[in-house]
Assembly symmetry: C2
Homo-oligomer: 254 residues x 2
């Protein structure tokens, strides 16, 4: 049985406000926990389903945690229903400290900026794709879905630990600073710009994507230097946001 | 109140075996129902939540349906909980006949072939993206998630009605026929091929994508003429399938 205090804490981390308060989040599953342990992130606690402790891959994670003096707690079947964030609990989870970056941490290379992205799958997939193409700096507006939401984490497939994410409290001000202090230009993807084939990768450039439903917000209009569009030929009304970002990331890396 | 017979039928269409038996599926929401009514698809029935019948967009759909002599049924709050496929019922759904295509219907242009794609969001997003880039012919293996699954339909954003989908009962035989009878070549996307920058669009080419977890199956090995890879530079283990397909579709259209 898991201590009540720990079970309660894990349940609280299901909510954004508590994740923010404790500056922690939950990573579920063998692959994710393995990535967390390998990364620079601070793993606070490992929770393992007791009757699965001897499974090969889980046993390896326990050894890794113990080597780093990370406490390991074992839980029973009943606990699992309380704490799991997926339908089928994968036998292991970790409580991990959130990484807090400053703007200065992402000004050494191109930046992918997401404004008001609401879908956890889209945000996670964009982080995973950016990581694939070696574009590691990501800037999120305050209205984006919480990057430490378990659905976002699952979609990143561990790439959250390979990227540097700065969560802005005021995206307009942050973009202004990037332009003025760090000489960045802002390139927005929208429906009415130059063909994306003209897009070139620049070290001091922000590539800005708006929300799934409204695109790039008018409030950022004055900060945008260039606009690019992925032209369609068919009858679909729009492209999925993560697909648009995937195409831009491919262009930037090729 | 909805007649019991209709409520039962709608519930049954939540299951793949009944969708197959009746050759029908359910489209929920104003946009989807609108696309269905505009398309060549056979709309069998419209179901409207009674107290929303006067809302502008819903009233327009009712008029469109009546012009085509499509029966319109009204349902109450209680019915909604029984029949909805989304958390919040959007006020209107349509029962639509499935379109059955032959292989001959997709041999006039490039073909996107998906083998064992299991994730509804991926399948729907790929159909939407193919439609965006004007690539309309889609071939699905028998193991793919049902294209008439409501989650797939939602992810297509209506593009199911703009594309021609052939569902093969035996993908190896279908690819063989495409090669022998229709002179197609088969290009597979996998981890170990030529760089995708070398990919060219050809009218008589199949672009083959494997499953999310296993990639292109060995069982199709002998049918593959060329292999292409989207090279990564970062630390992610793989690209999301829909993102890979999106990049290929972009390459084919540019």
């Amino acid at each position: 049985m898991l201590q009540k205090k720990i079970a309660k804490h894990l349940k609280q981390l299901g909510q954004k406000k508590f994740r923010k308060e404790f500056e922690e989040f939950v990573v579920e599953g063998i692959k994710g926990v393995g990535e967390a342990l390998k990364s620079d992130a601070e793993v606070v606690l490992l929770v393992v389903e007791g009757n699965r402790r001897d499974e090969d891959e889980i046993a390896k994670l326990i050894v890794l945690a113990q080597q780093d003096n990370i406490p390991v707690e074992f839980c029973g079947r009943k606990d699992v229903d309380e704490i799991k964030t997926t339908d089928t609990f994968p036998g292991v989870l970790a409580v991990v400290g959130q990484e807090e970056n400053d703007l200065e941490d992402i000004v050494d290379a191109p930046i992918i900026c997401l404004h008001e992205v609401k879908d956890p799958g889209n945000l996670g997939t964009i982080i995973r794709t950016a990581d694939w193409f070696g574009i590691k700096n990501i800037l999120l507006s305050e209205e984006c879905v919480d990057v430490y939401n378990p659905k976002v984490f699952r979609s990143t497939m561990g790439s959250l630990f390979h990227t540097t994410i700065f969560r802005s409290g005021n995206i307009s001000k942050t973009l202004e600073r990037l332009k003025e202090e760090f000489d960045y230009e802002v390139n927005a993807l929208d429906m009415d710009g130059n063909d994306v084939s003209k897009l070139k990768s620049k070290n001091n450039a922000v590539y800005l994507f708006g929300s799934e439903s409204h695109g790039v917000s008018d409030t950022l209009e004055e900060l945008i230097d260039n606009r690019y569009t992925i032209s369609g030929k068919g009858d679909a009304e729009s492209l999925n946001l993560a697909i648009s970002a995937g195409i831009v990331l491919y262009k930037l890396s090729s």
